[in-house]
């Protein structure tokens, strides 16, 4: 099912959460809503589910205005960050809940209901745990049951609110891959909220970057990463350094008021050269070990700039170096001015 959001505005008291936001999610796609906390991503998700009401604008499911459909009949599978499993019910009863309360829509016999629930448990790889209670399962297992429960109502739309937020790094990684496979298998139109850019880039067909209640950029993970449309996106996705000014090749020149321009660069697009070469000069003030690379911090007249350095290349604290930029983007007043 295609979801269209048109000009949605929502405030909580004096605090605006969404500002005239529009978005289109194609049928069967896996969308990530990415943004810092307070950017409105969870509000948007809850609004689509019908858990919140928009002040203005509308959400369309296909061609139908969703505000005409009560939440109970939207057939939206919603997975909460903290699972929201019914703690007094077994896994089986949790999954069967949606089917049992919609007895009119699902004509299940006792046997076919049981088969369906066990099938779903099998799908989320938890066969044999149907008689367990939520408190007897790990976080990752609970979240998978929550997903099975959401899938049980045969949703036309699947919404996941920071589904991995409460899990540890290892489990997150496994679940991420598994969700991707599941999406390929079941093909539900899916939106998930995350503040983790790595998660969004790895998992989604398309990433929607939200900032302060507005859409900053919509695009494939590739576009978002390599062609950020605004300084915010550049800064939010991946590591970056900001250098005030607009000219960098042939020597950096500071900003010239009233011009408001910034150059953004990524650590992997900077090379350390001799102290008398390069565009900017400075001293090495920090060396850190990341998982597979060394990260050197160079203090320059334009601020601290982080640089990736391959193993084997000497890096000495306090050494005077020059920096040469291979790729960068310049934004003037928040608009892309010049690429590379």
């Amino acid at each position: 099912m295609q979801v269209r959001i048109e000009g949605v505005t929502k405030s909580f008291g004096d605090h605006p959460a969404l500002k005239d936001l529009s978005l289109k999610v194609g049928s069967g796609q896996l969308f990530a809503l990415l943004g810092p906390s307070g950017s409105g991503k969870t509000t948007l998700l809850r609004l689509i589910a019908g858990l919140e009401r928009a002040d203005a604008g509308a959400v369309y499911f296909g061609d139908v205005d969703a505000s005409r459909i009560p939440i109970q009949r939207r057939r939206v599978g919603f997975v909460f960050q903290h699972y929201a499993l019914f703690r007094h019910m077994t896994m089986f009863d949790n999954i069967a809940f949606g089917i049992l309360v919609r007895r009119k829509e699902f004509t299940h016999t006792r046997d076919s209901l049981r088969r369906r629930c066990l099938e779903l448990l099998d799908l989320v790889q938890l066969s044999g745990l149907e008689d367990r209670y939520p408190h007897q399962l790990s976080g990752g297992q609970r979240q998978r049951v929550a997903l099975a429960r959401a899938l049980a109502i045969e949703p036309s739309l699947l919404l996941l609110d920071e589904p991995f937020g409460a899990l540890d790094a290892r489990v997150r990684k496994d679940l991420r891959r598994w969700i991707r496979e599941l999406h390929t298998k079941t093909g539900h139109t899916t939106l998930f909220v995350t503040h983790d850019q790595e998660e969004a880039l790895e998992l989604a067909d398309a990433v929607v970057v939200l900032n302060d209640g507005r859409v900053e950029q919509i695009g494939t993970p590739e576009q978002i990463y390599s062609a950020p449309a605004s300084p915010f996106v550049f800064n939010f996705i991946g590591d970056s350094a900001r250098i005030p000014g607009s000219a960098i090749n042939g020597g950096w020149r500071g900003p010239r008021p009233p011009e408001d321009a910034d150059i953004f660069i990524r650590p992997q697009d900077v090379t350390i050269v001799g102290p008398h070469e390069g565009a900017i000069h400075g001293d090495i003030v920090g060396v850190r070990r990341l998982a597979d690379i060394r990260r050197v911090v160079v203090r320059t007249g334009a601020g601290d700039i982080e640089v990736n350095v391959a193993d084997g290349k000497p890096t000495e604290m306090g050494a005077a170096v020059g920096l040469q930029f291979d790729k960068w983007r310049t934004y003037r007043n928040g608009v892309l001015l010049q690429r590379d």
Partner: protein, 284 residues
């Protein structure tokens, strides 16, 4: 915790110190203020011999008083479940102007001298009182009837119900209700299938407390009851009457009966509660 099931309790190492000391202290004061007085009561009741006890306990006036205390306490506790649940819900879930005031008023029956409550209720519900007059016009007599007793017991028991259930409601994640709604449950289904089961143990506790209090309540009831033997005379009052007649045997017998009935009821409720906790997956 599974550990407690396998390791004998004496061997268990706990990070919380002072198990021996606190248990000893508990047993000591429980003995002084509860167990010994109750044992004396039972001892005296036993001392009068089975025949005498049966004769005193089988007395018609005694039986009707105990029956009245039991039935009014039971009814009042049931009504308190119905009133107390929404009250606790509103206080725990919503913020509205005056919430703190209402919250404080709930505790008033705890603090108010029970006689004051009794007199206030009586003047209000007597046939010539503000509310009583209206009911009298409809042919319903509240004060000086078992209905009046029940009313006083509802007043006395309400805080027990509200105060036991309220924190449990505050503890329920709104997530669960939202999840139920997205899964297609209407309000009735959400209430009965999602909200009520986790609250059941607390409701039973509140019910038990309100009921137990109702069985023993004296001060507020005697003013509104009218105290007609066989009609509106409660068991605690009859004990006082027997004491004033220096008929200690009869008073002891009634007390023993109340004790037995209360204990059996509370035990039954506790068993029920343990069962509800287990069947709802509360215990780990």
């Amino acid at each position: 915790m599974p550990i407690s099931a396998t390791v004998p309790w004496r061997k268990r190492q706990s990070v919380i110190p002072g198990f021996g000391m606190t248990l000893g202290f508990t047993l000591a004061y429980l003995s002084l203020i509860a167990l010994i007085p109750l044992a004396v009561l039972l001892f005296r009741a036993a001392g009068m011999g089975w025949h005498d006890f049966a004769a005193l306990a089988g007395d018609k006036r005694t039986l009707s008083a105990v029956r009245l205390s039991f039935s009014t306490a039971l009814l009042a506790a049931l009504v308190n479940v119905v009133i107390g649940l929404p009250t606790a819900w509103v206080l725990a879930r919503y913020d509205f102007p005056g919430r703190r005031v209402v919250d404080a008023i709930i505790d008033l029956p705890f603090a108010l001298p029970t006689a004051v409550a009794g007199i206030a209720l009586t003047s209000l519900y007597a046939p010539n009182g503000w509310l009583g007059a209206g009911f009298a016009a409809l042919g319903v007599k509240i004060a000086y009837t078992p209905l009046g007793i029940t009313l006083a017991l509802i007043f006395i028991g309400l805080p027990f119900m509200v105060r036991t259930v309220q924190p449990v409601i505050a503890d329920l994640e709104p997530d669960m209700e939202e999840a139920a709604a997205t899964l297609g449950a209407n309000r009735g289904q959400t209430f009965s299938l999602v909200l009520l089961p986790p609250l059941l143990p607390a409701i039973l506790t509140g019910f038990a407390l309100a009921f137990a209090r109702g069985m023993g309540e004296y001060g507020s009831v005697i003013f509104i009851a009218g105290n007609l033997p066989y009609v509106s005379e409660i068991a605690p009052l009859l004990i006082v009457i027997r004491l004033e007649e220096f008929n200690y045997e009869a008073a002891t017998a009634i007390a023993a009966i109340i004790l037995g009935v209360s204990f059996a009821s509370l035990l039954a409720i506790n068993v029920l509660q343990a069962w509800s906790r287990r069947s709802l997956g509360h215990d780990s």
